[in-house]
C-alpha cells in the first residue's frame, strides 16, 4: 500500500483525537504532538505552545511540557507535522502549488517560536494564542456558535490571521508549516535524531527530480532528507520509482 494511504489514516486519527472531547471525556494530561488549540471545545489534549507560554508567565520551569515534547521529537521529529497534526492536515488539503521553499524565510518559524516565548515573558500574556490561526479555527469559530464569543476586535484579529494563513496555504503548499509554525520549529530540532526518518541510497538515485516535484515542503528530499523542513510525509518515497528513498521507523544506521 502506498504511504499516502497510510498517512490519510493517521491524519484522520489526529483529527479524531483533536475532536475526541465531543464524547464528553474532558481534558486529559496529554500534550498534543502538534498544533491544536486546548481551548477548542472538543480538545482533550494540552497545546504544547500554549502550555510553554503559561509556564513562562507563571515562572515555572516546564519539566513536564519539555519532557513530553522531547519524547515526541525523539520518536518522529517533524513526522507529526506530516502524519498527525490536524492543522498540518488542513495545510495538506490545500497543498496545490508545490513551489520551491524560500530557505531564509523558512527560518521564520524559529523567529515565531522565540517571539512567542519572549512575548509571553515580556507581556505576561499568551500573546501568540491571540494570533494563532489554529485557535481561530478551533476555538474562536466554535465559541461564536456556542454563544461564548462575540464578533469583536480579538475575534476579527483571529479571522484576519486565519484568512491570511489560508490564502498563504493556497498560494504556497504547507505555507504555515514551512514558514511560521512554532511547534514545527520545536519538532524540527529533533529531525536529525528521530526514529522516524528518510533514508536515501545514492547508488540507486539517478537524480531524476521526481521527489523534488512532489515535495509539499519544497525541498529536494534526496539531498535534504534530514533538513529541518522535512516533515517525513513520504510523498517523495511514493514518487521514487527506483526505491532510492525509503521511510523507516527504527534506530539510524551509521552514516
Amino acid at each position: 500500500m502506498r504511504l499516502s494511504t497510510w498517512r490519510r489514516v493517521t491524519q484522520g486519527g489526529g483529527v479524531l483525537l483533536s475532536l475526541f472531547g465531543a464524547t464528553g471525556i474532558g481534558m486529559t494530561h496529554i500534550l498534543f504532538p502538534g498544533l491544536h488549540c486546548y481551548a477548542c471545545p472538543w480538545a482533550i489534549t494540552v497545546c504544547p505552545i500554549g502550555l510553554l507560554q503559561n509556564t513562562i508567565i507563571f515562572g515555572i520551569f516546564p519539566f513536564f511540557g519539555l519532557g513530553a515534547i522531547l519524547a515526541y521529537g525523539l520518536a518522529a521529529g517533524r513526522g507529526f507535522c506530516g502524519w498527525f497534526c490536524p492543522f498540518g492536515t488542513i495545510n495538506d488539503l490545500l497543498a496545490f502549488r508545490k513551489r520551491r521553499i524560500r530557505r531564509t524565510a523558512s527560518y521564520g518559524k524559529y523567529v515565531v517560536l522565540v517571539g512567542t516565548l519572549v512575548g509571553a515573558w515580556a507581556l505576561a500574556d499568551t500573546a501568540f494564542c491571540k494570533l494563532c490561526p489554529a485557535a481561530s479555527l478551533e476555538s474562536s469559530i466554535p465559541y461564536l456558535f456556542l454563544g461564548v464569543a462575540r464578533v469583536n476586535r480579538p475575534f476579527l484579529v483571529h479571522m484576519a490571521t486565519l484568512g491570511a494563513t489560508l490564502v498563504g496555504m493556497v498560494l504556497v503548499a504547507r505555507f504555515w508549516c514551512r514558514y511560521l509554525c512554532p511547534m514545527g520549529g520545536i519538532l524540527s530540532l529533533f529531525n536529525r535524531v528521530s526514529l522516524l526518518h528518510l533514508r536515501w541510497e545514492p547508488a540507486k538515485c539517478t537524480e531524476c527530480g521526481a521527489c523534488t516535484k512532489v515535495c509539499p515542503m519544497g525541498i529536494e528530499p534526496h539531498r535534504e532528507h534530514d533538513d529541518h523542513n522535512c516533515i517525513k510525509c513520504g510523498a517523495c518515497v511514493d514518487a521514487c520509482s527506483l526505491d532510492s528513498l525509503t521511510l523507516h521507523c527504527s534506530p539510524r544506521r551509521r552514516p
Binding site: 472531547g21 486546548y38 507563571f58 516546564p62 519532557g67 505576561a124 500574556d125 461564548v148 535524531v193
Partner: protein, 353 residues
C-alpha cells in the same frame, strides 16, 4: 339477625382498614441530603448549602417547603424556592442561603433545615415533616476589603491551590533550575563527544533518558495536573475571545437607577479562576451591584476548587470551564466573559421582574 351481625362485622373491619391505611401509607417518600453539613461563614454574610431532594417512590410529592430553625437573627434569605411538584423517581438540587446576622456569636452555631411536603394516594393526602441538622462556624468578618476589588498584578504566580503539588519552600526554588541545567549540560556534552565518532545511539539514549527524567520530575512537581487545569479552564481573555478588561466597572446613571429598582431577591454566582485577568473586573462589578441593591446577593466561586459547582450551573461548556461567568439562580442562562458586562448584567437582573 345474622344479616345485621355480618354487616356490623364488615363495618368494623372497614373502619380498622380505614384507620390502618393512612398509618401504613404515611411513609416518607422523599430523601433530603444537605451538602455540606457544616459551613464556615463570616458574620453578616450568607452560608450556602445545597439540598438534594430525591423522590424514591412512584408517587408525586407536592409543595416542598424549606424553613430554618435555629438561634435568633439567622434567616433564610432569600427564602428558598418552593418546589411545586417533584415527580416519581425525580430529583432536584435546591440552593439554600442562610443569612448570618452581623452580631451573631462567633464560633459554632447549630440549626436545622425543616422540610415539609405532601403527597396523595387517591383522595387521601399526607403531609410529611423532616429535619436535617446544619452546623455553622461563624467567623469574624474580614477587616480588609473584599477580594474582588483587589486587581491581580500581571503575570502573577498561580495560587497554592492550583499548584498544590508543586508548592515547595522558597529556599528550595533553585532545585528545578539546577536539575534543568544538569540535564541540558548532559545532553550537550554527549552531543559534543559523539560528534567525532558519528555514532548517534549514545546521544539518542541520553536524550531519551532526559525525556523520561523530565517527565517523571514534572509529575513529581505536579506539573501534569497544572497542565491539565490550565487547558481545562478557558479564560476568555487568554486565547483572544475578548480583550483583557482590567478597569473599574463603569455603571451609567441610568443603569444604577435600574439596579436600584430591582425589587425581587436575586442571587448571583460569579465563577472565577485565580489566573484569569478579567475576573477581578467581573467580581468588582457584581460587588458594586450588591452595594447598590441589598436584594442582590452574590458569591464568588473558584472553578479550580469547586469544579462540581461549575458543572452544576452549566459553566462547563463541552468539558471546558469558561471564566469569568455569572449565573443567576433560577435563570437558565450564563453570562460569559466581560464584554459589555455592565449592560448584560443589568438585563439579567431585570429578567422576570
Amino acid at each position: 339477625m345474622s344479616g345485621w351481625r355480618d354487616a356490623a362485622a364488615i363495618l368494623v373491619l372497614l373502619a380498622i382498614a380505614a384507620a390502618a391505611l393512612p398509618a401504613a401509607a404515611q411513609e416518607k417518600i422523599l430523601t433530603f441530603a444537605v451538602e455540606p453539613a457544616s459551613v464556615e461563614v463570616a458574620a453578616g454574610e450568607r452560608a450556602t448549602v445545597t439540598v438534594r431532594i430525591e423522590n424514591a417512590s412512584v408517587r408525586e410529592a407536592d409543595d416542598i417547603v424549606v424553613t430554618w430553625t435555629g438561634p435568633g437573627g439567622f434567616v433564610l434569605d432569600p427564602a428558598p424556592q418552593e418546589t411545586a411538584v417533584l415527580g416519581p423517581f425525580d430529583s432536584t438540587d435546591l440552593a439554600v442561603w442562610i443569612l448570618v446576622p452581623e452580631d451573631a456569636p462567633l464560633g459554632s452555631v447549630a440549626g436545622s433545615l425543616e422540610f415539609a411536603y405532601t403527597y396523595c394516594i387517591g383522595d387521601l393526602c399526607f403531609q410529611i415533616f423532616e429535619s436535617r441538622d446544619v452546623a455553622l462556624l461563624v467567623r469574624a468578618r474580614a477587616a480588609v476589603g473584599p477580594t474582588g476589588t483587589t486587581v491581580l498584578p500581571l503575570g502573577q504566580a498561580l495560587p497554592s491551590g492550583a499548584v498544590s503539588a508543586s508548592s515547595q519552600p522558597a529556599a528550595r526554588a533553585w532545585i528545578p533550575y539546577a536539575v534543568a541545567a544538569c540535564l541540558t549540560f548532559l545532553v550537550l556534552a554527549t552531543a559534543q563527544v559523539m560528534r567525532s565518532s558519528g555514532a548517534r545511539w549514545p546521544l539518542y539514549t541520553v536524550l531519551l533518558l532526559a525525556a523520561g527524567a523530565a517527565l517523571a520530575y514534572g509529575v513529581v512537581l505536579g506539573q501534569h495536573e497544572q497542565a491539565r487545569s490550565i487547558a481545562a479552564v478557558l479564560c476568555t481573555s487568554c486565547v483572544g475571545i475578548e480583550e483583557v478588561t482590567a478597569r473599574a466597572p463603569q455603571l451609567s446613571a441610568q443603569e444604577i437607577a435600574r439596579i436600584r429598582a430591582i425589587s425581587g431577591p436575586v442571587d448571583l454566582l460569579v465563577f472565577r479562576a485565580p489566573w484569569c485577568r478579567s475576573c477581578p473586573f467581573a467580581e468588582a462589578l457584581v460587588e458594586q451591584v450588591g452595594a447598590l441593591n441589598a436584594r442582590v446577593g452574590y458569591r464568588f466561586i473558584d472553578v479550580d476548587r469547586e469544579p462540581e459547582r461549575a458543572r452544576q450551573y452549566g459553566v462547563i461548556q463541552s468539558g471546558r470551564t469558561v471564566v469569568p461567568a455569572i449565573v443567576r439562580l433560577g435563570v437558565d442562562r450564563v453570562l460569559f466573559g466581560v464584554e459589555n458586562l455592565e449592560s448584560r448584567l443589568v438585563l439579567l437582573l431585570e429578567e422576570g421582574a
